[in-house]
């Protein structure tokens, strides 16, 4: 069995046994499922009140949920992927590379007939499989709940959109997992290995969009991208910070895929930016020198 496959399987096994990873996985899956349940409960509550109001003759307006697309109920999943999913991916990424430096097993591994790039790609593939499984489970349950709300199984088109959203989520989470791996390889201390990618994530998710849009921080927790302010400064700055804000690009592409009426246009530019980030991060991590993989921690 080659280094790539051995490393991928080993990564999956380690992640399956790690307690922190378990906790984050449970929280993430729970939140994504909760987003569908919240949508369903909202629908039931609002429709119940609406029917009572109609029965009392107090309104002739249509039910606010009439005409809402079935995928409306999954829109909050966008923000959970962005918040909890990204943090989970960072933790898994940091653990995967820091583990061998911390326990000196890197020396054992690198004294074997092992190509260091194949080892890192294998670890990345293992993480990719874990993240794919988590996203698949979350969105499968989400599909079931949305089908229950609609009292009919979702059609092929909507199912395809959920799958596309899952793939896009995977691309985003892999980018953050790579950021975690890079930090695990480069940091001198365990604490900074976790802290640095969290700071970068918060800057990308909250600071960059604010600079370009003047959005309030709380509005950045919406599943749709912040609307750019217009004017000389904002036009220039948002043109620069927009492509850098990978999280806003994810929100934009996801909203279009999930047919959120608040966002229009093509998802293609945002998807290409996300793929470019993934490719660049992969190259940076895989090009890590052997000596860096085995460097000890200053603890």
């Amino acid at each position: 069995m080659n280094t790539f496959l051995v490393s991928a399987r080993h990564e999956m096994l380690n992640t399956r046994r790690a307690r922190t990873a378990h906790l984050l996985l449970i929280v993430f899956i729970g939140m994504v499922i909760a987003s569908s349940v919240i949508g369903w409960v909202t629908n039931q509550t609002v429709t119940g009140i609406y029917e009572k109001v109609v029965a009392d003759g107090l309104t002739m307006a249509p039910n606010p949920f009439t005409g809402v697309t079935p995928l409306y109920y999954t829109r909050n999943a966008v923000i959970y992927v962005l918040l909890i999913g990204s943090l989970m991916a960072i933790v898994l990424g940091v653990q995967s590379t820091l583990r061998d430096r911390k326990m000196s097993t890197a020396d054992l591994i690198l004294s074997r007939p092992v190509n260091s790039s194949a080892r890192l790609i294998g670890q990345l593939a293992g993480l990719g499989a874990v993240l794919a499984a988590v996203i698949s489970i979350s969105l499968s349950v989400s599909w079931v709940i949305v089908s229950i709300i609609n009292r009919a199984p979702l059609g092929w088109a909507d199912t395809g959109r959920i799958i596309a959203f899952g793939l896009l989520s995977w691309v985003l989470l892999m980018t953050f997992a790579l950021l975690g791996m890079l930090s695990g390889l480069r940091s001198k201390r365990e604490t900074t290995a976790l802290l640095v990618p969290f700071v970068i994530w918060s800057a990308v998710a909250f600071v960059l969009p604010q600079i370009g849009t003047a959005a309030r921080p709380v509005s950045l927790l919406n599943p749709v991208p912040a609307v750019s302010s217009t004017g000389g400064y904002f036009d220039v700055v948002s043109a620069i910070t927009g492509p850098l804000s990978v999280t806003e690009q994810f929100k934009r592409a996801s909203s279009i895929i999930l047919q959120d009426s608040a966002v229009t246009g093509s998802a293609t530019p945002s998807i290409l930016i996300l793929l470019a980030y993934l490719a660049v991060m992969t190259v940076i991590v895989v090009a890590t020198p052997r000596n860096r993989m085995r460097s000890g921690l200053h603890e």
Partner: protein
């Protein structure tokens, strides 16, 4: 002509401006148990790191099992086993899962049979499904030996193998080292600063001081060359003081 397992010529290694190994020329014959002695910081671990291809030398050359550590590093890695100092393993995985991982990295495609054999050699039978988190320090060192010999290497490198072990653990490990050498013909290169262990285990020794090799010979010849001294410890300190003066 001796069949050499390890040979270095003018081997040097610098970390920035600090010279860790200074023109080391060393020969270890196949089938020997070689002990490299020296104080902390003498360059013992750097020597092992270069010979196991974990570090590239700054100057000079080294061959292990007939392969150059720089030109043919992969061939060297296939021929050696290595146990670093204070290594830990994956505590959440079982003994079998840990060993399977290292066996597969070493290129064994169906490793379970070989792992079973190695576990029998090291008295681990019946503990395959136990997680390593429950193992003592001594047991972990033996797991370290197990992972190092899975692929039947011709040369085994051990960096301070008895470090942190209790007397029982030291004795068990010593017996294992002697057995691997006598029964399986492995050449063993061992870093240590425990002179009593060298006397009981090694067939030849080298003494490193400040990155320079100040003495190399068989243990028997070394003891014979210093008739006035009654222990390796006294010889070691005499050689050290000669170099200082």
């Amino acid at each position: 002509m001796k069949n050499l397992a390890i040979a270095t010529g003018n081997l040097s290694k610098s970390y920035g401006s600090k010279l860790a190994l200074d023109a080391l020329s060393l020969e270890v014959a196949a089938g020997e148990v070689f002990g490299l002695l020296g104080h902390n910081g003498a360059g013992k671990t750097t020597t092992v790191n270069v010979l196991t291809t974990l570090l590239e030398p700054t100057h000079g050359n080294a061959e292990v099992a007939g392969h150059s550590v720089t030109a043919d590093a992969m061939a060297v890695r296939r021929a050696i086993g290595y146990l670093p100092e204070n290594v830990q393993f994956y505590d959440s995985l079982t003994l079998m899962e840990n060993l399977r991982f290292f066996a597969q990295l070493s290129g064994l495609s169906r490793p379970d049979q070989r792992i079973g054999d190695v576990l029998r050699i090291l008295d681990f039978e019946g503990q395959e499904r136990q997680r390593l988190g429950s193992f003592s320090k001594g047991m972990r060192q033996r797991v370290g030996i197990a992972q190092a010999i899975l692929h039947s290497p011709s040369v085994l490198f051990l960096d301070e193998p008895t470090s942190g072990l209790d007397p029982e653990g030291v004795r068990t490990l010593r017996e294992t080292i002697v057995r691997l050498n006598s029964e399986f013909g492995m050449t063993i290169f061992m870093n240590t600063h425990l002179l009593s262990e060298v006397t009981k285990t090694c067939t030849s020794i080298g003494i490193l001081r400040g990155g320079k090799l100040v003495h190399q010979d068989t243990l028997a010849q070394t003891l014979a060359d210093f008739p006035g001294e009654d222990s390796l410890e006294q010889i070691y300190f005499q050689l050290e003081s000669e170099q200082v003066s």
